[in-house]
Amino acid sequence: MTAGMARNGDGVAVPATRRTSLWQTALAKFARDRAGLVGLTVVALYLLVAIGVWFGWWATEWADITGAKWAPVSAQHWFGTNIIGQDIFQRGLYSTATAFEVGLVVAVLVVVLGGLLGATSGFLAGSWVDEIVLWTMGVVDAVPFYLMVAAIAFALADYPYAMHVAMISTFWTTTGRFVRGEVIKLRGLEFVEAARALGVGQAAIVLRHVLPNTLHILLVQMTLCFVDAIKAEVVLSFLGLGVKDGMSWGLMISESTLEFLAGHFNNLVAASLLMFGLVYAFNMFADALQDALDPKRVA
């Protein structure tokens, strides 16, 4: 990180020491946080599962009919089979990849969108650009989440990423507001003033000097967003507004509603456990990350 900053060639005094200390302290603090480390390890394990799915190492038969209807738990079917005889364990594993795909796409794009718009509006606070961004945030926040998402999913008809678009267009405002606040604080600081005095363009200042200083906020927002996206996916898929192609925990849970009456809960249990594991681990990781990155945060 520091190396990257030192190389920028504007000749502006980069507050390298402040930066260095923040990230170094954060790392040191995180390394001491046992819960956070356990969380990170579990998340990494899930990621490994997802990578295996992407590369076709396992869960390749998730769509095939490999057994009888509602086969019980066995060595062959670790979580039994579903109503049409598909292996629930493989479907659960496959869904891990979906969860990461949804979580990562949404989290990254939310942070990019929220970061850019928030930084721009914060940097130009008080101007008409700021007004428009604030207005947009207000509008988006005023529509209830599920209504908004449903509406976008409908408007985009059968576009496979309708759900992603819907989540991104509603989630970005939180990040945007945080970044805006931080940037307003930053823009009064010396190094920005200095860059401006040296005639560095506004876009360059935002991109090179201001945004990098909000990285810790973006990182934390990204982890929170990841969790939110996974949880929202479950509900949206249940409502029929979610994942179009493939398999997900949300789809498995909605599938399980077809089985309650007959007294079969394998789908529900499998999807719930797998999802809980990832979300819990991620929450612990996000907590530790927040503690580490925010010196003021009270733990």
Partner: protein, 622 residues
């Protein structure tokens, strides 16, 4: 509905008296609505609490498009004809009509006389709030409403092009002051209907909610809100309605018509267990209050039913079949259920099926005859890959009937001897067919499987994809396209945008013509021929049969048409679900939700809790 806490208390309190009750009952049965001695009966009106899986969208007869709406509409309103309560197969009977119509020898003119003294339910929309007598003009008015676009009517297709002058009346602006030559009230109690060509199903259409009689005062008074505020002359008056339930009260002015069991088609062998003999000679309706819960969630509906003091009649969710049924064929209950409930099983009047859309050159018609032949092989191979038995086992717990062709088991023209090859899975045959016609994984087309949003529909797709994989169809070439609303899916069908159309069809009347018209060329999109199948021979036979009265000759034509559909591999067809109903033992009923619609509800009687409608010595299913 009884809350849980009161129920717990109640159960404890009746424990002590139930024995006394049983002894007293064994002494003298059949005293009609005798009250159980030794225990206070529940206060309040006699109530029948029914349940349904879906709420009707509107209670306006012009929009009574499905069985859910019909169930409510035919109880709030009256129709000229109705289906007999107990006769199976279904038979018509005069309802508002005094008798059968006089029909001219050329089958084009019908004269129908109405009963006298039939009164609409009291409602503030009438002068003085008192319902007036129903007259022939009311029927003319009600049918005109189906041709007035302002009402957003859905049933006009029954009569358009068939009743003389009705289409002209509509295109002239639907002016109710104008007469329709083919639809006239000769006097206050006589109707005359003139047809452009013979229409053997005409009287069936007059037994539908679509043709129920609405007083113009109610339309003037409630306007669009007629859809939530019915005012008819039927046996029950709607007092509350929302998407969760409808509540009716007895129409006190309903005409006195003692039940003649023989005329209703009573079968003493098969139906005695229901206890319907108790209603002989009495005038319906027999309950003061009728509640229908709309619970689209099977689990909660079933829980409500088995609680004992809530819903009294429910369809058996297939998921519970294994626990509840001792045998499938014939349907028999497990002893602990037979103890508490009565049951009935019968095939649905309709079917589910999936057809190819011949507008798509990948599967259907193609300018190149050689390709068209290969396309047929493709369709036939998919049909062979399709596993109806797996569908039945997964989703209907083996309770459905898989049958070849499009003539459904419930109609008299059904042919049980037809070859089952078209509904038998044959993976090797399918593979061979593909290979022999030059189809490989590389050149097979992409199949788009359109469905409405919903997890079950999604699973249908997954099942289909897995089955196709087994004949060598690459899974990535089977694509799901889900539509958020049924309306959007329906739009895709009507705009011919889906290569495979999977749908269910409920019969409007018990005549195979109603399903054969799904394949009649001129009914192509946006009509109901979703396959857009155009077969010259089929269309000729259809037109020939359409004007014939029921006869062995007509049945023979129907069956030839059926064979044409099978031979051209038009689609995977079909499956008729079996409905199994359970109801509490103190309810006297022979339920049915098919053709008869809601006509049976007025015949339901309810005995005090603890009593049984079932005569001694009979089983729960007769």
């Amino acid at each position: 509905m009884q809350p849980w806490h009161r129920r717990l208390f109640f159960l404890r309190s009746i424990g002590g008296v139930s024995l006394a009750c049983a002894v007293a009952l064994a002494g003298g049965c059949g005293s009609g609505v005798a009250e159980g001695p030794g225990r206070p009966t529940l206060p309040g009106p006699k109530t029948f609490h029914h349940s349904f899986e879906q709420a009707p969208a509107s209670l306006d007869p012009v929009q009574a498009t499905n069985i859910y709406a019909n169930h409510v509409v035919v109880n709030a309103y009256d129709t000229l004809f109705a289906y007999k309560y107990l006769a199976r197969p279904y038979q018509l009977k005069p309802n508002l009509a005094e008798d059968w119509p006089e029909i001219s020898p050329d089958l084009l003119t019908y004269r129908i006389r109405l009963k006298r003294g039939v009164r609409f339910q009291d409602d503030p929309c009438f002068p003085g709030g008192r319902g007036r007598e129903l007259v022939a003009e009311d029927f003319v008015y009600s049918l005109k409403r189906q041709f007035d676009p302002q009402n957003r009517p859905q049933g006009g297709w029954f009569w358009q092009g068939r009743i003389v002058g009705i289409d002209a009346w509509k295109s002239a602006g639907s002016d109710y002051a104008q007469d329709i030559p083919g639809l006239r009230a000769l006097d206050s109690h006589t109707l005359e209907i003139r047809l452009t060509r013979p229409y053997p199903q005409l009287l069936d259409t007059f037994a539908q909610g679509y043709s129920a009689v609405v007083p113009h005062e109610a339309v003037a008074c409630y306007g669009r809100e007629l859809g939530t505020h019915p005012v008819g002359s039927g046996p029950f008056k709607v007092v509350a309605y929302d998407t969760a339930r409808v509540v009716f009260e007895r129409h006190p002015g309903y005409r006195q018509e003692p039940v003649d069991l023989a005329a209703e088609g009573y079968d003493p062998v098969k139906q005695r267990y229901t206890g319907v003999e108790r209603i002989a000679g009495r005038s319906p309706p027999f309950v003061d209050r009728l509640i229908i819960d709309f619970a689209n969630d099977d689990a909660s509906r079933w829980n409500s039913f088995t609680k004992g003091d809530e819903v009294q009649l429910s369809a058996l969710p297939p998921e519970r079949a294994e626990a509840v049924l001792a045998s499938l064929n014939p349907v028999r209950l497990q002893p602990e259920y037979a103890e508490k409930y009565q049951a009935y099983s019968g095939p649905e009047a309709g079917f589910v099926f999936e057809v190819f859309n011949f507008d798509f050159p990948d599967f259907g018609y193609h300018p190149d005859p050689a390709r068209e032949r290969r396309n047929k092989a493709l369709r036939c191979a998919i049909i062979k890959a399709f596993d109806w038995e797996a569908r039945n086992a997964s989703w209907y717990f083996g309770l459905a009937t898989v049958f070849p062709g499009v003539i459904v088991p419930v109609v008299p023209e059904f042919d049980p001897a037809l070859s089952r090859a078209s509904v038998t899975r044959d993976v090797d045959g399918a593979r061979r067919l593909l290979r022999d016609n030059g189809w490989t994984a590389a050149n097979l087309p992409v199949l788009v499987y359109g469905q409405s949003a919903g997890v079950k529909q999604r699973m249908f797709y997954e099942q289909f994809r897995a089955e196709l994989k087994q004949i060598g169809w690459p899974p990535e070439k089977v694509v799901l396209k889900q539509f958020a609303t049924f309306g959007d899916l329906s739009r895709a069908w009507k705009e011919s945008r889906l290569p495979i159309v999977a749908k269910g069809w409920g019969l409007d009347y018990p005549d195979a013509e109603n399903t054969l018209q799904l394949f009649y060329g001129p009914n192509g999109s946006p009509g109901s021929n979703d396959a857009n199948w155009h077969n010259v021979e089929f269309d000729r036979l259809y037109e020939q049969a359409a004007v014939m009265l029921p006869s062995p000759e007509r049945t023979a034509l129907y069956r030839r048409m059926n064979q044409l559909v099978i031979d051209d591999c038009v689609g995977m067809t079909g499956l008729a679900r079996n409905r199994i109903y359970l109801w509490h033992r103190n309810v006297v009923a022979m339920p049915d939700r098919e053709i008869v619609g809601g006509f049976w509800l007025k015949y339901v009687d309810v005995l005090p809790p603890g009593q049984s409608a079932r005569p001694e010595g009979l089983g729960a299913t007769g």
